[in-house]
């Protein structure tokens, strides 16, 4: 394969990732997709999940994202994430407390209103963060 592609993951707070990668995989709304150099211009919405990429040394990296948008160009992938954390930066304690809080809230009010949807989204975020963080420890 000819060369690397630049991967950029930005959130409203900061630039989380900006480096060269061999391949980038992201959780698109309609399914996971992979991007190599020379990809045709592509724009999609992302769902909650993890972005995986192989860095220049061939190591696999994972970054948690809670939805957003991705734009692929032949030489660059930009991911506009609502929030993003590298696997090693995930705060497991915080995710655990968030999970508990969301669970409690869901038990208390089993209705379909805004709070409910919000609590469910929080639950999913927390679960995914924990899964990703713990996958490393094995």
């Amino acid at each position: 394969m000819a060369g690397n592609i630049t991967v950029e993951i930005v959130t409203p707070e900061k630039v989380v990732v900006q480096e060269e990668a061999k391949i980038v995989m992201a959780p698109g709304e309609l399914g996971e997709f992979g991007v190599l150099i020379g990809h045709t211009p592509f724009l999609t919405t992302l769902k909650l999940g993890s972005v995986k990429y192989e860095d220049a040394q061939g190591l696999e990296r994972q970054v948690f994202i809670s939805g957003g948008f991705a734009e692929a160009r032949p030489d660059k992938v930009t991911i506009l994430a609502n929030s993003a954390e590298r696997r090693r930066d995930i705060d497991l304690e915080r995710a655990r407390t968030a999970l508990e809080r969301a669970k409690k809230r869901l038990e208390r009010e089993a209705r379909e209103d805004i709070d409910f949807t919000r609590a469910r989204a929080a639950l999913e975020r927390a679960l995914h963060r924990m899964q990703l963080a713990e996958s490393k420890r094995k």
């Binding site: 409203p12 309609l30 211009p41 724009l43 999609t44 919405t45």
Partner: protein, 296 residues
Amino acid sequence: MAQLKDVQLKISAVKKTKQITKAMNMVAASKLRGAQNDMEGFRPYAGKFAEVLGNLAGKAGEDASPLLIPREEIKNINIVLCTSDRGLCGGFNSNLINKAARFAKDCAEKGIDVSLTNFGKKGRDWARKAGYTIASEHLGIIGSKFGFNIASISGGTLIEEFLTGTYDEVYVVYSEFRSVARQVPVLKQILPIPPIEQEEEIEEKDTIYMPEHICEPSADEVLGQMLPRNVYVQLYSAMLETSTSEHAARMSAMDNATKACNDMLENLTLIYNKARQAAITADLMDIVGGAEALKG
């Protein structure tokens, strides 16, 4: 002698004031650095977001989202007014409030109902006094550290109220941070979303051959999801700019105050020295006069 004591008291009072203004100046300077960092951190996201949106705007249909369609009859508007919570920052708040007040008055004269969403206590106090409806108020945000979710929560509420017809237009008044010495109050429409400017360089890029983006699920769908977020992005950036401006305004206001204190101290010291000299001369005259009298 009484005058001497008065001047001395005044000097010590001014010295104390100077200590405070100097401390506030330094605190504002360090907070300004923090706020500027937050702004820098947001810039890549905002820039990229605008770029992608600009790319997309040309492709999606005009009626891709109800957020884009201007209403024919404007009856109710909401102004999101960003000010600081605290004073002592020169004309910062009054400039912002004037901007909002002028606009609100113009609208009211046309028979449009104006309500306000207040970020910051100063603006809230004004709105209360002027008798405008306050849709919601958020204190303790501008000037401190805040996250994107604050913008997305109140942005979400505004969008919902726009869609249900509570408001026909939504504006934001905030302070644009041009430089440490210059902050400009700005009025911007955020809903319905004004026509998005398409990227200018598209023509040039085409010469290198850049095929059109493939969109998933579809251009309209992606745009439909990006537009609300665009509102949050605008709000967040307005809040960040106002925060940064507040600290910058306070810093220069306090710098001026410290300088004024220095001037006053100089004047007062001069007066004090003169008075002291006069007192000494008067005492000497007394003594000499007394000695002369004894001789006689």
